[in-house]
Amino acid sequence: MDRRKFIIGAGAVLATAPQALWALNESRASSLINSLVTDINRVIASGKGESAMYRDFERIFQRYSDTSYIAAYALGADGRRASSAQKRAFSQAFQGYISRKYGKRFREFIGGKLEVTGVKKVKKWYEVSTIAYLKGQSPFEVTFLVSDRSGRDLFFNMFIEGVNLLLTERTEIGSILDSKRGDIDALIAELHRLS
């Protein structure tokens, strides 16, 4: 190989390699959701006590989801007046709260399964479509949004039959905050109470 060709070749490899190696793509987006589902099923099948399960769900949530995005979105515009200590505390309290809120419903998932049916790229993220088959219920659509914003592949929102879970939680957080007259510390305390 002559020198010129080698340089061009090396340049091309360098230019494309990072993308091939690091960029999120369809198969990585769907494999993230597949392993998320596997982990959730493993916890449910473990037959542990409920509080041990909540801790496991919280760990799964931390591992697979973009927790800082989710917390920032849920707090919404009120996040702008929060101090960094409050933001950190809120993020942590929110994780416990959400793991318990959804973990509490694990019984509905026993014997059920989630099947990945498709992936598509939307703007800078991926939409992973799945169908949930739960015992005694008609199958329904669950969509996960996955991005590598944080440097890792993580899901940052999900939709159940068109219902945006993050928007639902933002509304809920807003309602709690209203009931505390806008006091962010009181909101954090309330989330701890609920988790």
Binding site: Y69, K87, G162
Partner: protein
């Protein structure tokens, strides 16, 4: 067609629908921004408090008792029965929407389930792979171009919009089964529908309890969930509009 038999009833319903659906619609810009169009919020909240009371005192305990006492396969059967009774009406709605395929499916479902399916108690149509049909006059109005209108919470029925409320009224007054001579099918469909709803309330009790009794503002939660899900069903949910995860300031969280 059944509508022809009692034109005055149908006309009345249609005028009512046009009136209710013709009411104010949301400014498209506000809707795109994700705002909720709820000009009757005060009244709606009163109705919501009433509905919650009815649920807590009567509907929830009755439904929980129902699914606890009646074996699950029977609960499913009764639900199939109610669904089957709604098929002729759904077929007409499918025709009004110009969807011949859906009308055909509704027709096949009704014929198969009413005969082989023991008067609708079983659902062999699904085993024969007849696709499910789930439509209503609210959807017909949507297909005709009527906008969603304002959010309303109806007594007993729960969350709705002015368009869908008109749809419920029309479906109620024009159920074709109600026109068959000398039968009480009209009442049977109503009772069957109540029983079906009890089955749903009992089977999904954790989900519904968490919305009604465990959220900080159950009215706002029900409203948001209803609107998003209804738009999704009608296929008018905007493409999943999402704050770009790269644009939100997540520093500190």
């Amino acid at each position: 067609m059944a509508y022809m038999l009692r034109p005055h009833k149908f006309l009345f319903a249609l005028i009512f629908a046009a009136f209710a659906a013709g009411c104010a619609n949301q400014d498209p810009v506000a809707r795109a921004a994700g705002e909720v169009f709820d000009p009757y919020e005060k009244t709606n909240r009163t109705v919501h408090a009433f509905n919650r009371g009815v649920d807590r005192l009567a509907f929830r305990p009755a439904s929980k008792g129902y699914v606890a006492i009646v074996p699950a396969p029977m609960v499913t059967s009764f639900s199939h029965f109610a669904e089957n009774l709604s098929m002729p009406g759904q077929m007409i709605n499918a025709l009004l929407q110009g969807d011949l395929k859906m009308a055909g499916n509704a027709f096949s479902r009704f014929v198969i389930n009413s005969t082989v399916g023991f008067a609708g108690l079983a659902d062999p149509a699904s085993e024969f792979n007849v696709p499910p049909v789930d439509t209503d006059f609210g959807e017909t109005l949507h297909v005709w171009g009527v906008g969603e209108g304002a959010y309303v919470e109806l007594p007993f029925f729960g969350p709705s919009t002015s368009r869908d409320a008109a749809g419920i009224a029309v479906d109620f007054f024009t159920n074709p089964l109600g026109y068959v001579e000398q039968n009480t099918a009209d009442n049977i469909s109503i009772y069957a529908e109540i029983v079906r709803r009890m089955g749903d309330r009992g089977n999904y009790s954790d989900t519904i309890d968490s919305i009604l009794y465990e959220s900080a503002d159950s009215y706002a939660q029900s409203r948001l969930i209803y609107l998003q899900n209804r738009r999704f069903e009608l296929g008018e949910g905007e493409e999943i509009t999402e704050i770009d995860p790269f644009e939100l300031n997540t520093e500190g969280f």
